[in-house]
């Protein structure tokens, strides 16, 4: 069930950039991303992350080709789908060849739905706030975002170094 949900989310993730700009390059990137994502859902998270990286590339390419004003609602939806895809695929692997307790799947779906709603609303509010602020205050946004990206990458490296591998599931 969780794997099917992850597969549906993959289709949404890979298909949404095609709605922005349906070019051959976007389609090719999307096909590669979809293949990797499906493989990742079945096999391992790093493969799925590879697929998501490609999907982000496809999204960026579609935005760049289409041009025009920022599509914030679509971006929020894309981000929520990214999180849910990671979590559902991970849960799908966890639940594979395991006895599932009563009410587990329903509780998990409820939790994802609640998170998606909160994250979506939170991201929309934050992006709208940023939009309003950017109209009022002129800041060099690109260097600021780059600095934030570097900070996130540093945190990621720190996490990777402090993280100790858990034993295999079975």
């Amino acid at each position: 069930m969780a794997r099917r949900l992850a597969a549906v989310l993959t289709v949404v993730l890979v298909g949404s950039p095609l709605l922005i700009a349906s070019s051959t390059a976007v389609l090719a990137l999307g096909a590669a991303a979809m293949m990797l994502c499906f493989l990742g859902i079945l096999a391992a998270t790093p493969v799925l992350v590879g697929g998501m990286v490609l999907a982000l590339g496809e999204y960026t390419l579609a935005l760049w080709l289409a041009g025009g004003p920022p599509r914030l609602a679509g971006a929020v939806l894309f981000g929520v789908v990214l999180v849910l895809l990671l979590e559902t695929a991970d849960f799908g692997r966890l639940a594979h060849r395991a006895t599932l307790g009563p009410g587990l799947l329903a509780a998990q779906i409820r939790s994802w739905a609640v998170f998606a709603a909160f994250a979506g609303v939170g991201a929309l509010v934050a992006s709208t706030g940023a939009n309003v602020t950017s109209a009022a205050v002129r800041l060099p946004w690109a260097p600021a975002v780059a600095a934030a990206g570097a900070a996130v990458a540093l945190v990621g490296v720190a996490l990777a170094l402090s993280y100790r591998r858990l034993p295999p599931r079975d």
Binding site: T45, P46, V49, V53, L56, Y59, T60, L63, W64, P70, L72, A75, V76, F78, G79, L82, V83, L86, E87, D90, F91, L94, A95, R97, A98, T99, L100, G101, P102, L104, A107, Q108, S111, F115, F118, A119, G120, G122, A123, A126, S127, A130, W141, A142, V145, A146, A148, G149, V152, A153, G156, L159, A160, S162, Y163, R165, L166, P167, R169, D170
Partner: protein, 424 residues
């Protein structure tokens, strides 16, 4: 239980970083917005308290079973507080095979709730199986953090060897003093008529043979053969084994021993067991249900124990190896030390039968078929035949048994040949 970040957290961070990099490169604000839900997801880290608010209990449908039988394992998970996601894993020993259900489970529990988790296993091989530890992993709902612990739960399963079907058993040549099912050569109280003799005062009237008395006009009485039991000692060779579990020569030997134990005890015989490994282990001959269980317990723990020590059969106490006993040695005849013990037993005048489960078909089954393997097996078969002939020349009866075939068929040929050589 300490909560630690899972690979999923690292994956989220990686996707975040990549999104920001693409945002900077493309100069599109949407990519920064895409990252926001991912970052909001990371805010859930550290919110789950890794309290041990749950407990486990395990129950087995049967604590003692035979090989090939199935057992249902029920694990009850009870929670005192909320448990968002609990993963339980029970590793199975190689002697158990999962038949239905899974030995890994995922549960979510509310306070005061409990849930039962069932799976069924098939007991493939005899032995004491210890289902001791359940590994538990406590996850948060998002799967970003997890903590691990192990819970020791008592759960011992005894898997006894499955006795092979056997109706006819090798008859002993010598009987014992107690009442049993064998017709003894000696005369006395019994059901089987033996001889006729003239009546003497003190004879019972119901023993008078009226037909003979009328013919000879003198009273004759019928004498009957006594019905006696026998002492049977099974000598199990645990010096070496061949083949792949659960179909090794030792497995076949133990199943045959279980069949012989069951058959002889059902005939009221006294049965003993000697495990011939480096140091001897034995069970004195006796009869009854309690002794049946004692012998099966001994068969349960019988295993190959390599040792350079070679004990002499003379070291076995007299009460364990009674002089009038039928000794059935069960051996694949791989180790020459066991052959020397057999020769020693035969020289001491024991009524000896050797049941030899052939290792060749068992080894062939475990090997990849090839011309070289065929040739090796043929040579091995010739060598085994030569060794069996050498023992046969010393007066030792050898029954070669292919464990893939019925034990009854293998022992069937033995019964008439032993009947011809009954010692009176």
């Amino acid at each position: 239980m300490t909560m630690r970040l899972t690979p999923l957290a690292l994956s989220v961070v990686t996707v975040c970083a990549w999104g920001l990099v693409l945002g900077v490169l493309s100069g599109r604000a949407e990519l920064a917005v895409v990252v926001l839900p991912l970052l909001l997801g990371l805010l859930r880290i550290g919110r789950t308290v890794a309290a041990r608010e749950w407990s486990l209990a395990r129950a087995l449908s049967a604590p003692r079973v035979f090989e090939g039988e199935r057992v249902t394992v029920t694990v009850t998970v009870s929670a005192d507080g909320p448990v968002p996601l609990l993963e339980l894993f029970e590793p199975l020993p190689p002697t158990l095979r999962l038949v239905s259900g899974h030995n890994r489970g995922l549960f979510t529990l509310g306070p005061g709730r409990s849930v039962e988790w069932r799976y069924e296993v098939e007991c493939v091989r005899r032995g004491r199986v210890n289902l001791g530890t359940v590994h538990a992993r406590f996850w948060d709902r998002a799967g970003l953090e997890a903590g691990e612990t192990s819970v020791r739960l008592p759960g011992q399963l005894r898997v006894y060897p499955r006795p092979l079907p056997l109706r006819r058993l090798p008859g002993p040549r010598r009987m014992q003093a107690f009442v049993g099912n064998y017709v003894a050569p000696s005369l006395g109280e019994g059901l089987e008529p033996g001889d006729i003799r003239a009546f003497v005062p003190g004879d019972r009237v119901r023993h008078v043979n009226w037909r003979a008395s009328l013919r000879f006009r003198q009273l004759f009485v019928t004498q009957y053969h006594q019905e006696r039991n026998a002492d049977v000692v099974l000598m199990l060779d645990t010096l070496a084994e061949a083949g792949a579990a659960p179909a090794t020569t030792l497995d076949a030997s133990i199943r045959a021993a279980a069949a012989l134990v069951t058959g002889y005890l059902a005939r009221k015989d006294r049965v003993g067991l000697i495990e011939y490994c480096g140091p001897f282990r034995w069970v004195r001959p006796s009869s009854g249900r309690a002794h049946h269980e004692r012998l099966f317990e001994a068969l349960l723990r019988a295993d190959v124990m390599f040792s350079y020590v070679t004990q002499d059969v003379a070291l076995v106490p007299r009460r364990v190896l009674p002089p009038q006993a039928l000794v059935i040695a069960i051996s694949p005849l791989i180790d020459p030390r066991f052959e020397r013990a057999l020769v020693d037993l035969a020289a001491r005048g024991f009524d000896l039968v050797v049941l030899s489960p052939s290792p060749i078909p068992l080894v062939r089954r475990a090997m990849r078929p090839s011309a070289r393997a065929d040739l090796a097996c043929r040579l091995w078969a010739l060598e085994r035949r030569a060794r069996a002939d050498a023992l046969h020349r010393l007066g030792i009866t050898i029954v070669d048994w292919d464990p893939a075939e019925s034990l009854e068929a293998a022992l069937g040929g033995l019964t008439p040949s032993r009947r011809r050589g009954v010692v009176r």
